[in-house]
């Protein structure tokens, strides 16, 4: 019984990261109709940037996080303006292929430059254990989960309560009407992509401070983010959070009770079952499959 609570707690911790990285993906899909297969690579670049900033440049964790967010936001903006922009309104297939090409390029270039060694990011707190009843966590994990929650809340506030967020939602509802109302939709798309990239990168850096990060992590992260987004419903904010937590707990339980070697299989089983039985996801409000 004690183990069960511990597994659930561990699952919720990794679930928080799944939620944060999936949020960027669902945001980009929901607002731009772009299925970003390079999402995991943006997450990975966040981890690598964080490592560069803290270990190589010697910044402290928060300055490093700020730098990572700024650089990755700029990267996202550029990717949208120079690549995605050119295939906008051509349907889904070109953007899928384009982002697959981008992910192949980013993974292998990073592999070439940084190598396969695991990169550790110095966390802001020591790895001291915290006892919450029967459950043991480390201070660093509690901090990272709190940071996830803060970032998710910040993204929510940006979309709900700022001028940019209103422009994003208007563009999502009807790009033509938004343009007629004087919204620069090209800038809105680029900002959305930048925001999604920043969410992925921050997840990459935070998780890199708990475990280590490595360059080839991207593919699996992309897939898990997709699992979460499909489970929660494409474009749904709440769905990404709940889906992330469900995936995290399911993996922790599978790893704890069945086998640790096949833990990644659970996500794929979830996705296959979701697409067969509830293809719109748990939370999707739109009546469409994409």
């Amino acid at each position: 019984m004690d183990m069960l609570l511990q597994f659930v707690a561990n699952g919720l911790v990794s679930g928080a990261f799944y939620a944060l990285s999936a949020l960027g993906l669902t945001l980009i899909f929901g607002l731009m109709r772009v299925v970003n297969f390079a999402h995991g690579e943006l997450y990975m670049l966040g981890g690598v940037m964080g490592w560069l900033a803290t270990t190589v440049l010697g910044l402290n964790f928060f300055a490093g996080l700020a730098l990572t967010l700024a650089v990755m936001g700029a990267c996202g903006w550029l990717v949208d303006r120079f690549l995605i922009e050119r295939v906008r309104d051509q349907g889904e297939e070109p953007s899928i292929l384009l982002t697959i090409g981008l992910s192949i390029f980013l993974t292998n270039t990073a592999l070439l430059l940084v190598g396969t060694a695991p990169l550790t990011i110095e966390g802001p707190l020591p790895n001291k254990p915290v006892f919450l009843g029967p459950v043991v966590l480390t201070e660093l994990r509690v901090f990272a989960v709190a940071a996830c929650a803060v970032l998710i809340l910040a993204a929510h506030l940006v979309i709900r309560h700022t001028r940019l967020g209103r422009a994003m939602r208007a563009t999502f509802q009807d790009p033509m009407a938004a343009r007629l109302a004087g919204i620069n939709t090209a800038r809105v798309y680029a900002s959305t992509f930048a925001l999604g990239t920043m969410l992925a990168a921050s997840a990459g850096m935070l998780l890199g401070s708990i475990y280590s990060t490595h360059v080839s992590a991207g593919g699996l992260v992309s897939l898990k983010a997709f699992v979460v987004v499909i489970l929660g419903g494409m474009g749904s904010f709440a769905g990404a959070i709940v889906g992330g937590l469900i995936l995290g707990v399911a993996e922790a339980l599978w790893g704890g009770y069945i086998s640790t070697g096949t833990v990644d299989i659970i996500g794929f089983i979830i996705v296959i079952l979701t697409l067969i039985f509830k293809p719109y996801g748990l939370f999707s409000t739109q009546v469409e499959r994409a």
Partner: protein, 327 residues
């Protein structure tokens, strides 16, 4: 149609003469790899070009074929002429099951679910140690008995002709499929699903046939791969094969029969040429995919067809093709 058939026949004749003119094992090996990839690219093209959905899980069928042939050969001692067709049949059976689930979905969902199936199979191959020997893989798959006392050069020639035979079978099946009512219906579905349905074409049925045929051909290629390389590991389900196949189909031009062959030839030669730049190679492939999507959306064959149709001297041929159905 005529252009495509004639080109295929000429290419076939060149390929027939190739091993007789070349006495170099390395060149023959490259030729064999080109043919293997030609089968794979043709089979993926059936799904990408004629179902119109993008599969990232085609390695599932390659891997199933390779493991089937390796297990049948190692555990039951079946000879290669039996294991390779059986590999195709097993892949096709899985194609029926996987297709029945995945073809209900479209766009990004199809991409993800096919990828999910390939990943599940890879994880099973890596973890079910009793059956698949796990990460160690299956080594020592038997070569055909015929080659017991043949020289290495003769063995390479034998494999070349075996691969050429498989390629010919694949292209014949693909050709018959594409220029049958099946193929035309599939193109109609690809171009406009709703029009297709309104004239009585059931998209799912035709997509399923293309999918199963693609799975069968990929399984044959997998079976051949197992006997040629004599080793099968979980990497046959991996993304590297998938990337190569995608690039071949895209560069050559999806939805044409010659395109994937051209792609297989170009990419295999490029891979060999860039062998010294091993790590840089995949980065370059990523850039190539992006460049093709941006600048050459219909591939080389799309570009050439476009040129041919605009060229007045070929106008008659172009008109004949326009009447004879999609090229």
């Amino acid at each position: 149609m005529k252009f495509e058939r004639n080109t295929l026949l000429v290419l076939g004749l060149i390929a027939l003469a190739f091993p007789l003119l070349v006495g170099n094992q390395y060149l023959l090996h490259i030729g064999i790899m080109v043919l293997l990839y030609a089968v794979l690219a043709t089979s993926l093209n059936l799904i990408v070009g004629y179902v119109g959905e993008f599969s990232l899980g085609h390695t599932a069928f390659l891997g199933l074929g390779a493991y089937t042939a390796a297990l049948l050969s190692l555990r039951l001692g079946l000879p290669a002429w039996a294991t390779i067709p059986l590999a195709g049949v097993v892949s096709a059976l899985f194609g029926v099951v996987i297709g029945a689930i995945t073809l209900r979905l479209r766009g990004p969902y199809f991409v993800i679910i096919t990828l999910a199936f390939a990943e599940v199979l890879r994880l099973i191959a890596n973890n079910w140690v009793d059956f698949t020997n796990g990460p160690m893989g299956l080594s020592g798959v038997a070569q055909p008995a015929l080659l017991a006392d043949a020289s290495p050069l003769m063995a390479k020639r034998f494999y070349f002709y075996l691969a050429l035979g498989l390629t010919a079978v694949s292209l014949y099946l693909a050709y018959r499929f594409v220029y049958s009512n099946n193929g035309r219906a599939a193109v109609t579905v690809r171009e406009n699903r709703f029009v297709a349905q309104s004239v009585g074409i059931r998209p799912f049925v035709y997509a399923m046939r293309a999918f199963v045929l693609g799975a069968f051909l990929a399984g044959l290629a997998g079976g051949f791969y197992a006997h040629y390389i004599t080793f099968v590991g979980a990497n046959v389900f991996g993304f590297a094969f998938m990337v190569s196949m995608i690039i071949m189909v895209l560069i050559g031009g999806k939805g044409t029969l010659i395109g994937p062959l051209l792609g297989a030839l170009l990419v295999t030669l490029l891979t060999e040429y860039l062998r010294e730049l091993q790590e840089l190679r995949l980065s370059l492939f990523g850039l190539i995919v992006m460049a093709v999507v941006l600048f050459l959306p219909n591939g080389l064959m799309g570009f050439l067809n476009h040129r041919r149709e605009r060229n007045p001297s070929d106008a008659a041929d172009g008109a004949a093709r326009a009447q004879g159905g999609p090229a």
